[in-house]
Amino acid sequence: MLDTVFFYLFTLLTLGGAILTVATRNAVHSALFLITSLLGVAGLYLLLHAEFLFAVQIIVYVGGIMVLFLFVIMLVNLDAAAAQRQFSRMWPVALGCVALVGLELFYFLGKGEPAFRIAAPPPVPEPTAGNTERIADVLFSQYLLPFEIASLLLLVAVIGSVVMAKKRI
Protein backbone atom coordinates (compact mmCIF):
# COMPACT_ATOMS: atom_id res chain seq x y z
CA MET A 1 0.00 0.00 0.00
CA LEU A 2 2.70 2.42 1.00
CA ASP A 3 4.57 1.37 -2.13
CA THR A 4 1.67 2.46 -4.29
CA VAL A 5 1.44 5.82 -2.59
CA PHE A 6 5.13 6.45 -3.11
CA PHE A 7 4.89 5.25 -6.69
CA TYR A 8 2.23 7.85 -7.41
CA LEU A 9 4.19 10.53 -5.64
CA PHE A 10 7.39 9.89 -7.59
CA THR A 11 5.46 9.47 -10.83
CA LEU A 12 3.94 12.86 -10.25
CA LEU A 13 7.38 14.37 -9.70
CA THR A 14 8.82 12.61 -12.74
CA LEU A 15 6.07 13.36 -15.22
CA GLY A 16 5.31 16.84 -13.91
CA GLY A 17 8.98 17.74 -14.09
CA ALA A 18 9.30 16.27 -17.55
CA ILE A 19 6.27 18.09 -18.95
CA LEU A 20 7.43 21.40 -17.55
CA THR A 21 11.00 20.79 -18.82
CA VAL A 22 9.66 20.49 -22.31
CA ALA A 23 7.10 23.28 -22.01
CA THR A 24 8.76 26.15 -20.14
CA ARG A 25 10.13 29.11 -22.00
CA ASN A 26 13.12 29.87 -19.80
CA ALA A 27 16.07 27.48 -20.08
CA VAL A 28 17.01 27.84 -16.40
CA HIS A 29 13.49 26.83 -15.38
CA SER A 30 13.68 23.93 -17.80
CA ALA A 31 16.86 22.74 -16.15
CA LEU A 32 15.37 23.03 -12.67
CA PHE A 33 12.29 21.06 -13.70
CA LEU A 34 14.54 18.45 -15.28
CA ILE A 35 16.28 18.13 -11.91
CA THR A 36 12.87 17.57 -10.31
CA SER A 37 12.12 14.88 -12.84
CA LEU A 38 15.49 13.21 -12.25
CA LEU A 39 14.87 13.20 -8.52
CA GLY A 40 11.52 11.56 -9.14
CA VAL A 41 13.23 8.85 -11.20
CA ALA A 42 15.76 8.41 -8.39
CA GLY A 43 12.87 7.81 -6.00
CA LEU A 44 11.50 5.15 -8.33
CA TYR A 45 14.92 3.48 -8.31
CA LEU A 46 14.65 3.27 -4.57
CA LEU A 47 11.24 1.63 -4.85
CA LEU A 48 12.77 -0.89 -7.24
CA HIS A 49 15.56 -1.69 -4.76
CA ALA A 50 18.30 -0.11 -6.85
CA GLU A 51 19.90 1.70 -3.95
CA PHE A 52 23.28 2.09 -5.61
CA LEU A 53 21.81 3.71 -8.70
CA PHE A 54 19.61 5.90 -6.54
CA ALA A 55 22.77 7.39 -5.08
CA VAL A 56 24.53 7.57 -8.44
CA GLN A 57 21.51 9.25 -10.02
CA ILE A 58 21.56 12.00 -7.42
CA ILE A 59 25.33 12.45 -7.25
CA VAL A 60 26.22 12.11 -10.92
CA TYR A 61 23.09 13.18 -12.74
CA VAL A 62 21.71 15.86 -10.50
CA GLY A 63 24.94 16.90 -8.83
CA GLY A 64 27.22 16.66 -11.85
CA ILE A 65 25.51 16.72 -15.21
CA MET A 66 22.73 19.13 -14.35
CA VAL A 67 25.08 21.55 -12.62
CA LEU A 68 27.14 21.51 -15.82
CA PHE A 69 23.99 22.35 -17.77
CA LEU A 70 23.21 25.22 -15.42
CA PHE A 71 26.76 26.56 -15.76
CA VAL A 72 26.50 26.60 -19.52
CA ILE A 73 23.07 28.23 -19.42
CA MET A 74 24.53 30.94 -17.22
CA LEU A 75 27.48 31.37 -19.58
CA VAL A 76 25.36 31.95 -22.65
CA ASN A 77 22.92 34.78 -22.65
CA LEU A 78 19.52 33.24 -23.20
CA ASP A 79 17.38 36.24 -22.30
CA ALA A 80 17.10 37.15 -25.94
CA ALA A 81 16.35 33.56 -26.84
CA ALA A 82 13.52 33.32 -24.32
CA ALA A 83 11.70 36.10 -26.14
CA GLN A 84 11.94 34.32 -29.48
CA ARG A 85 9.67 31.70 -30.90
CA GLN A 86 10.18 28.57 -28.85
CA PHE A 87 8.61 25.92 -30.97
CA SER A 88 9.44 24.59 -34.35
CA ARG A 89 7.32 25.53 -37.35
CA MET A 90 7.11 21.85 -38.13
CA TRP A 91 5.27 21.09 -34.93
CA PRO A 92 2.20 19.38 -36.46
CA VAL A 93 4.48 16.87 -38.16
CA ALA A 94 6.37 16.41 -34.94
CA LEU A 95 3.16 15.98 -32.97
CA GLY A 96 2.14 13.21 -35.34
CA CYS A 97 5.47 11.45 -34.88
CA VAL A 98 5.28 11.70 -31.13
CA ALA A 99 1.71 10.46 -31.01
CA LEU A 100 2.82 7.50 -33.09
CA VAL A 101 5.78 6.67 -30.87
CA GLY A 102 3.75 7.16 -27.71
CA LEU A 103 0.79 5.09 -28.89
CA GLU A 104 3.01 2.30 -30.08
CA LEU A 105 4.91 2.04 -26.84
CA PHE A 106 1.75 2.45 -24.80
CA TYR A 107 -0.04 -0.28 -26.67
CA PHE A 108 2.66 -2.87 -26.46
CA LEU A 109 3.79 -2.16 -22.96
CA GLY A 110 0.31 -1.66 -21.58
CA LYS A 111 -0.73 -5.13 -22.60
CA GLY A 112 0.96 -6.38 -19.50
CA GLU A 113 3.57 -8.95 -18.70
CA PRO A 114 2.20 -12.02 -20.50
CA ALA A 115 2.55 -10.28 -23.87
CA PHE A 116 6.27 -9.85 -23.52
CA ARG A 117 7.73 -12.50 -21.37
CA ILE A 118 9.55 -15.50 -22.76
CA ALA A 119 9.17 -17.50 -19.61
CA ALA A 120 8.61 -16.73 -16.00
CA PRO A 121 11.90 -15.62 -14.51
CA PRO A 122 13.74 -18.41 -12.76
CA PRO A 123 13.03 -18.30 -9.05
CA VAL A 124 16.25 -16.80 -7.82
CA PRO A 125 16.78 -17.13 -4.11
CA GLU A 126 16.57 -13.88 -2.22
CA PRO A 127 19.97 -12.27 -2.38
CA THR A 128 22.04 -12.38 0.73
CA ALA A 129 24.32 -9.51 -0.21
CA GLY A 130 23.26 -5.89 -0.54
CA ASN A 131 22.55 -4.23 -3.86
CA THR A 132 25.86 -2.38 -4.08
CA GLU A 133 27.85 -5.48 -3.24
CA ARG A 134 26.09 -7.54 -5.87
CA ILE A 135 26.71 -4.86 -8.48
CA ALA A 136 30.38 -4.74 -7.55
CA ASP A 137 30.66 -8.53 -7.83
CA VAL A 138 29.21 -8.59 -11.32
CA LEU A 139 30.90 -5.39 -12.49
CA PHE A 140 34.40 -6.51 -11.59
CA SER A 141 34.13 -10.04 -12.88
CA GLN A 142 31.76 -10.49 -15.80
CA TYR A 143 31.66 -6.84 -16.87
CA LEU A 144 35.32 -6.04 -16.33
CA LEU A 145 36.03 -5.26 -19.97
CA PRO A 146 33.22 -2.70 -20.45
CA PHE A 147 34.32 -1.11 -17.20
CA GLU A 148 37.86 -0.72 -18.52
CA ILE A 149 36.70 0.45 -21.92
CA ALA A 150 34.52 3.10 -20.28
CA SER A 151 37.73 4.75 -19.12
CA LEU A 152 38.62 5.27 -22.76
CA LEU A 153 35.23 6.88 -23.27
CA LEU A 154 35.92 9.33 -20.47
CA LEU A 155 39.38 10.07 -21.88
CA VAL A 156 37.83 10.84 -25.27
CA ALA A 157 35.29 13.11 -23.58
CA VAL A 158 38.03 14.99 -21.72
CA ILE A 159 40.17 15.47 -24.82
CA GLY A 160 37.13 16.35 -26.89
CA SER A 161 35.81 19.01 -24.57
CA VAL A 162 39.26 20.54 -24.15
CA VAL A 163 39.72 20.68 -27.92
CA MET A 164 36.33 22.35 -28.25
CA ALA A 165 36.31 24.76 -25.35
CA LYS A 166 39.87 25.71 -24.40
CA LYS A 167 40.70 29.35 -25.15
CA ARG A 168 44.04 28.91 -26.90
CA ILE A 169 45.40 25.58 -27.95
Binding site: M1, D3, F7, T11, T14, L15, I19, T21, V22, A27, S30, L34, L38, V41, Y45, L47, L48, A50, F52, L53, Q57, Y61, I65, L68, F69, V72, I73, V76, L78, A80, A81, Q84, F87, S88, R89, M90, W91, A94, V98, V101, G102, L105, F106, L109, K111, E113, P121, N131, V138, L139, Y143, P146, L153, L154, V156, A157, G160, S161, M164, A165
Partner: protein, 102 residues
Protein backbone atom coordinates in the same frame (compact mmCIF):
# COMPACT_ATOMS: atom_id res chain seq x y z
CA UNK B 1 6.53 -7.65 -7.03
CA UNK B 2 5.24 -5.24 -4.50
CA UNK B 3 1.93 -3.47 -4.89
CA UNK B 4 2.95 -1.87 -8.17
CA UNK B 5 2.99 -4.13 -11.23
CA UNK B 6 5.84 -4.04 -13.73
CA UNK B 7 3.71 -2.70 -16.54
CA UNK B 8 3.04 0.54 -14.66
CA UNK B 9 6.72 1.28 -14.59
CA UNK B 10 7.00 0.41 -18.26
CA UNK B 11 4.13 2.66 -19.24
CA UNK B 12 5.60 5.45 -17.13
CA UNK B 13 8.92 5.16 -18.90
CA UNK B 14 7.17 5.00 -22.27
CA UNK B 15 5.44 8.29 -21.45
CA UNK B 16 8.72 9.78 -20.27
CA UNK B 17 10.42 8.66 -23.46
CA UNK B 18 7.68 10.17 -25.62
CA UNK B 19 7.97 13.43 -23.72
CA UNK B 20 11.69 13.45 -24.45
CA UNK B 21 11.04 12.81 -28.14
CA UNK B 22 8.43 15.57 -28.13
CA UNK B 23 10.86 18.01 -26.54
CA UNK B 24 13.52 17.10 -29.08
CA UNK B 25 11.20 17.69 -31.99
CA UNK B 26 9.30 20.74 -30.69
CA UNK B 27 11.86 22.89 -29.00
CA UNK B 28 14.14 25.31 -30.83
CA UNK B 29 16.62 26.11 -28.11
CA UNK B 30 19.61 23.79 -28.48
CA UNK B 31 20.14 23.44 -24.72
CA UNK B 32 16.51 22.48 -24.17
CA UNK B 33 16.77 19.99 -27.02
CA UNK B 34 19.76 18.46 -25.29
CA UNK B 35 17.83 18.29 -22.02
CA UNK B 36 15.08 16.39 -23.83
CA UNK B 37 17.66 13.78 -24.80
CA UNK B 38 18.50 13.41 -21.11
CA UNK B 39 14.81 12.72 -20.49
CA UNK B 40 14.90 9.95 -23.09
CA UNK B 41 17.95 8.38 -21.48
CA UNK B 42 16.23 8.46 -18.10
CA UNK B 43 13.21 6.70 -19.51
CA UNK B 44 15.52 3.98 -20.82
CA UNK B 45 17.23 3.70 -17.44
CA UNK B 46 13.91 3.32 -15.70
CA UNK B 47 12.97 0.53 -18.10
CA UNK B 48 16.21 -1.28 -17.37
CA UNK B 49 15.78 -1.03 -13.63
CA UNK B 50 12.16 -2.14 -13.74
CA UNK B 51 12.99 -5.20 -15.82
CA UNK B 52 15.98 -5.88 -13.64
CA UNK B 53 13.81 -5.82 -10.52
CA UNK B 54 11.31 -8.12 -12.14
CA UNK B 55 14.02 -10.58 -13.22
CA UNK B 56 15.78 -10.32 -9.85
CA UNK B 57 19.10 -9.63 -11.55
CA UNK B 58 21.59 -6.80 -11.35
CA UNK B 59 22.58 -6.89 -15.04
CA UNK B 60 20.12 -4.12 -15.80
CA UNK B 61 21.66 -2.02 -13.05
CA UNK B 62 25.05 -2.43 -14.70
CA UNK B 63 23.63 -1.30 -18.02
CA UNK B 64 22.05 1.75 -16.40
CA UNK B 65 25.34 2.53 -14.74
CA UNK B 66 27.05 2.59 -18.12
CA UNK B 67 24.28 4.71 -19.62
CA UNK B 68 24.94 7.25 -16.88
CA UNK B 69 28.68 7.20 -17.62
CA UNK B 70 27.94 7.80 -21.28
CA UNK B 71 25.44 10.55 -20.44
CA UNK B 72 28.10 12.35 -18.42
CA UNK B 73 30.64 12.06 -21.24
CA UNK B 74 28.09 13.22 -23.79
CA UNK B 75 27.11 16.16 -21.62
CA UNK B 76 30.72 17.33 -21.35
CA UNK B 77 31.38 17.13 -25.08
CA UNK B 78 27.95 18.35 -26.11
CA UNK B 79 28.03 21.42 -23.92
CA UNK B 80 31.54 22.23 -25.18
CA UNK B 81 30.24 22.06 -28.75
CA UNK B 82 27.27 24.23 -27.77
CA UNK B 83 29.64 26.82 -26.33
CA UNK B 84 31.67 27.03 -29.56
CA UNK B 85 28.46 27.44 -31.54
CA UNK B 86 27.39 30.25 -29.24
CA UNK B 87 30.78 31.93 -29.46
CA UNK B 88 30.72 31.99 -33.25
CA UNK B 89 27.08 32.73 -33.87
CA UNK B 90 25.80 34.45 -30.77
CA UNK B 91 22.61 32.40 -30.82
CA UNK B 92 21.42 28.99 -29.75
CA UNK B 93 18.25 28.90 -31.77
CA UNK B 94 18.22 25.79 -33.93
CA UNK B 95 16.54 27.68 -36.80
CA UNK B 96 19.41 30.17 -36.94
CA UNK B 97 22.09 27.49 -36.86
CA UNK B 98 21.06 26.28 -40.26
CA UNK B 99 23.14 27.90 -42.96
CA UNK B 100 24.40 24.94 -44.97
CA UNK B 101 22.59 24.83 -48.25
CA UNK B 102 23.46 23.76 -51.72
Amino acid sequence: MNGVPLSWYLVLSAILFSLGVAGFLFRRNIITIFMSIELMLNAVNLTFIAFSYDLRQVNGHIFTFFVMVVAAAEAAVGLAIILTVYKNRGTLNADDVNSLRF
